[in-house]
Symmetry: C2
Subunit: 674 residues, 2 copies
């Protein structure tokens, strides 16, 4: 349906005009006869060229795409085409040239702040994803580096995020339990990451960015809030130091699992450490919110919490008193994981599906975050380029022991507050994480797991957008329903069901508006030629003997043709009944039904059949069917259809106003004659 | 989306008006200031009442339904409510009273003609459905009798039909082979019939008639043609007297099966009998077509063929020479089959699914046939009532050894030609079939199976609507694609896939028109206030400094908001580029973008966000965004949204014309001032 060429005009169809001109001369002369007027507007209807066929449209589409590229190329004659192509794929080649030292100073500071938040979060999210802590750190190395060369956002902080981690663990757990065989589980995670990257890259390459739009804003708000609560509940395991915990993610299973575990002996020290540092981090955030200049306090609070907690455990030997600790983190940089991809797995279909879901969720989050910050800084994000960048980041990640990375809400905000200038802050962060992978991992041996839970918990409120939800409630009740269904679906059933429900309801709404379109009665606004919906404009007046109806659907097609026909006939029936009750005079009885088709972009064969039936049915009741302001394609199909010739010639008008005028004049002359 | 109450106006919202009136006074005064005009049309925008909320709409919908029924009831005060309810369910109570003897004479003749065609067809179709011959005859007894009391069509001939028989055998065969265990197969058939009836009755009760519309006319034409060819190929088994035959229905399997079988010895006598009587029936049809008065010749030709063939076989003992015969047909009327319904079957879900598919196919065929003959006779068929009648016919059928019955194309035409007046012809037919079940079954022992194949074959050309297909090709290429996909899907893959493909493509088209709507540039038609698509009206002229764009989608929502925003920005970019190239004067550079939202019925939160972003982006380029003719709900959401106050107050106009006028006046005054 995409007609991209707004400037693609009638040149190609001039020859068709002539033919039609002859064919339609009758119409014109007849018009003039029926309603003696200097220039009946309907002549414009006659003069319209034939609309382009589907083939012509496709050719035109391709041509404009190619031509526009050519035009751009001729402009940039001096530059090397290979180099300009490279530049479009790697924006770093463009902005890298203008990169200056004082920019680097800012990026360095932002990158270091980012790293201090990123290291504890990565470890925590890896835990949430069912992986060993080092995999979270790995994911904060390779994807940000790749993204920084290909991405077009300047603020996005790439790495593991909470929601995708939850999504992966909850979906992959159904294929492979991470506790019984962690290696097999990990391999599936890498394969899913590979698929996610492939899907994202394909979306970008084939400009399928609209697929990301299918998860509407409302669905995303509901989904994020539900996921945040589910993630929070998952952290109860770490916070209470529980050993037995459910694999399910829904509220009921998790809460019952917690209550069951509490009957067994549990280690309150974990809870003390976790909750006290949670309070510490929240306090730091409170300070940061009160004074925008102190943004770095909440940013480095998690790292300080980790260091303090680790030191406390190390110095007091708390691990012997039941405090659960992280233990071994493998030191060293990312190991290649090419050989660990499972393309022969019997679950390959499932794995690809999980890859697709996480690709879409990851992209939706990254693009939403990236767009909002780009708008603040006043530049535009190219969705398709972002997808390519994210896709290649994840493909590279899947080959180097990373799991699905995307743009993080919380860290991007920190990056922005810290005054980053370009994605160099991501590079700084990645290098810092690399160094800590080499140096710090031994130190993290004594880090209590409860502190990781509290770091994740502290990041969750940012995912719950209550004011956004209220705004949606105020604006659109159906959108709010989508939000609620995503929220409760995630909360009480599963992540997948929540998403499916939200997308399903969103699309059902679109379908419904096509299957059950509005048919509005129109009335004339006094002293104008404007006809408006009589519900919207109660002051609009109807013309006696006329019924003007507007079809508010872009397609008059198989799915709604019968409905529209029946609705029109019912309305006509109602009007006639009223007329009978009020015993109106013969000359003011319903004589003409004007169908305003200005919103109907196309008809199919069923639509034409419905119009024919409508015409016949009305004719048998001595009512004339008149079509006003048909659009290009509709007009054309009406001409080619088997609709009665008389109908085609006399009863198609340019506007509702013209149709009404012709009717009023005709009826007044006939009245005079009487 | 259905707003059924066209007359449901603003009374309920009067109080809201006041509030809004105050809020919008600024707007009015401001308008007057900016453009000194007696009555700015935008005041109408201000005076619009609030649109009804979803709750109010639902209440209004229910109220109008109930009220309209009450009104009807008060009119018919004298009649008993139970009786009037009964009359609406059983139309026979209404027309039965006026039934006269001369009508019965016609119905008797039509019924007898119908029976003579129905008996051989029923036996053949039962064979096609994988059942013993008597079950076809049973199906021609009970469903027509039930239908004749409840149906509203006067011509529809109810009974087994070819396409549904094929559908049942091809789908049920996957669950149970009819040869290895015919009783289990039969029981599944009855259960499917029960489900089909239940679904049909439910569709009728809950007014879900639109579900039948989902199978578009084009899909039906393609499906029927494909099914006819598949059925024809299945008849090769009977025609050649083959013993080994494939269970699959696609062309490739069937043809290879036929060629493989031909290597084995086969009985040419079957082919001789079958093809000679096929020629006889086709000749009879040719005569009937040439002379409309001799319509009874093709109608009784099949019965004569059966009688002649049976006599020949009986007299020549041809069955000993390899001619396959029907053999035992159980004499006697329908036996009850209540105990044979399989509600505990492990395949219950599958059975229900097959029931649903055959319910929809059967309904589509019956309603299509019924409607076309109703239109000829000039009355209207109530789709929901028809569904109820068909549903109860099939439920009753499933309890009395019948399989799915529906309205037959060929027999309805014969019924009509034979001059039937009411459904009494169906009753006559059913009684005739009952008598033959008691009397004739012994005679049918020697009927050769080849004759059944030739009777089915002779009925198939009626299912292939070539002129209809050509008409579709002429009118709508996409509809033709739907037709082709149904046709080739049925032919080369399976009945299910063909249907799925056709429905899928049809809906993809509707979705596509919502996801990728047209954005059209508008121009003014000279000396009028009409703005038309510049592609449709090449003579339309653009105003300098203005870009008028129309969004042709009923919803500005999550699925298309980003696309629409980007398209508008791209178009603006193109116009600016052209301006730069042509080095236009400052005062004629693009300054205002007018968005004609007259076709947009609703926005969701994503749509509002897209408008905000568009407003910001354009503002940063010194371009003003103006919204013209917003619809009720859209206007309301714009008011409640977070769109900039200034935008809301100054830049919303009643029509494109008004917006252009205000701009032109403003720019001319500013020009004068310079």
């Amino acid at each position: 349906m995409e007609i991209s060429s707004l400037s693609h005009t009638s040149k190609a169809h001039k020859d068709n005009n002539k033919k039609m001109g002859i064919e339609m001369q009758n119409h014109q002369s007849h018009q003039a006869e029926g309603a003696p007027e200097e220039e009946p507007m309907s002549r414009w209807l006659i003069d319209t060229p034939e609309p382009p066929t589907i083939c012509q449209e496709l050719i035109g589409y391709v041509r404009t795409k190619v031509l526009s590229k050519k035009r751009n190329k001729t402009k940039k004659k001096p530059s090397n085409p290979v180099y300009s192509c490279l530049k479009s794929v790697f924006p770093i080649l463009t902005w890298g040239r203008q990169y200056k030292l004082n920019m680097f100073k800012k990026d360095l500071m932002a990158g270091l702040t980012l790293a201090s938040l990123c290291i504890p979060q990565s470890i925590g999210y890896a835990n949430l994803a069912g992986l060993d802590p080092e995999y979270g750190l790995y994911t904060s190395v390779v994807p940000p580096l790749i993204y920084s060369t290909m991405g077009s956002s300047r603020e996005l902080a790439i790495g593991p995020v909470a929601v995708v981690s939850l999504l992966l663990s909850s979906l992959i757990r159904e294929l492979q339990d991470p506790i019984t065989d962690p290696i097999a589980y990990r391999n599936i995670v890498f394969t899913v990451t590979f698929f996610a990257g492939m899907f994202q890259a394909i979306f970008g390459l084939f400009r399928l960015g609209f697929l990301v739009d299918f998860l509407s804003h409302a669905a995303l708000v509901g989904f994020m809030a539900g996921a945040a609560i589910v993630i929070g509940l998952q952290q109860l395991k770490g916070l209470f130091g529980l050993s037995h915990f459910t694999n399910k993610t829904d509220v009921v299973s998790v809460l019952s699992s917690v209550f069951n575990s509490l009957h067994h002996p549990w280690q309150p020290l974990n809870f003390v450490i976790g909750s006290s540092f949670l309070i510490f981090i929240l306090l730091a955030r409170f300070i940061g919110k009160r004074n925008k200049k102190l943004f770095w306090i909440p940013a480095i609070a998690p790292l300080i919490a980790v260091i303090l907690a680790t030191l406390i455990v190390y110095l007091t030997n708390a691990e012997t008193r039941g405090v659960k600790i992280v233990k071994n983190i493998k030191p060293g940089l990312n190991r290649p994981s090419v050989n660990e991809l499972q393309f022969n797995s019997p679950h390959l279909g499932q794995i690809a599906k999980i890859g697709l879901i996480s690709a879409i969720i990851a992209l939706t989050e990254a693009i939403a975050v990236g767009r909002s910050f780009a708008t603040i800084k006043g530049y535009r994000l190219d969705g398709n380029k972002e997808m390519m960048a994210m896709g290649f980041s994840n493909i590279a990640g899947s080959l180097t022991s990373c799991y699905v990375a995307t743009g993080s809400f919380s860290r991007t905000a920190v990056n922005f507050s810290a005054g980053c200038e370009t994605v160099v802050s991501n590079i700084v962060m990645a290098i810092t994480v690399m160094i800590s992978l080499e140096v710090l991992t031994r130190f993290l041996y004594f880090t209590p797991t409860a502190i990781l839970a509290s770091i994740i918990l502290s990041a969750l409120p940012g995912l719950i957008d209550i004011s956004g939800a209220l705004h949606i409630w105020k604006l659109d009740k159906l959108d709010f329903l989508v939000l609620l269904s995503a929220f409760f679906g995630v909360l009480f059933v599963s992540v997948e069901i929540g998403l499916l429900l939200a997308v399903g309801i969103s699309f059902a709404r679109i379908m419904l508006s096509s299957i059950r379109p509005n048919i509005e009665a129109l009335g004339r606004l006094s002293r104008t030629d404007i006809f408006g919906d009589i519900n919207q404009y109660p002051m609009a007046s109807k013309t006696q003997g006329l019924l003007t109806l507007r079809i508010s659907s872009p397609l008059l097609c198989f799915a709604n043709a019968n409905f529209i026909r029946d609705r029109i006939l019912n309305t006509v029936g109602e009007v006639k009944e009223e007329d009978d009750e009020q015993e109106v005079k013969v000359e003011t009885v319903l004589q003409v039904v004007i169908l305003d088709m200005s919103c109907v972009m196309g008809v199919d064969t069923s639509g034409i059949v419905a119009l024919e039936e409508l015409h016949q049915e009305l004719a048998s009741n001595n009512i004339r069917l008149v079509i006003a302001s048909p659009r290009w394609r509709v007009l054309h199909k009406l001409k080619r259809s088997t609709l009665e010739e008389k109908m085609k010639k006399e009863n198609i008008f340019m506007t509702v106003g013209e149709a009404v005028e012709v009717y009023v004049r005709a009826s007044s002359t006939s009245h005079d004659l009487c």
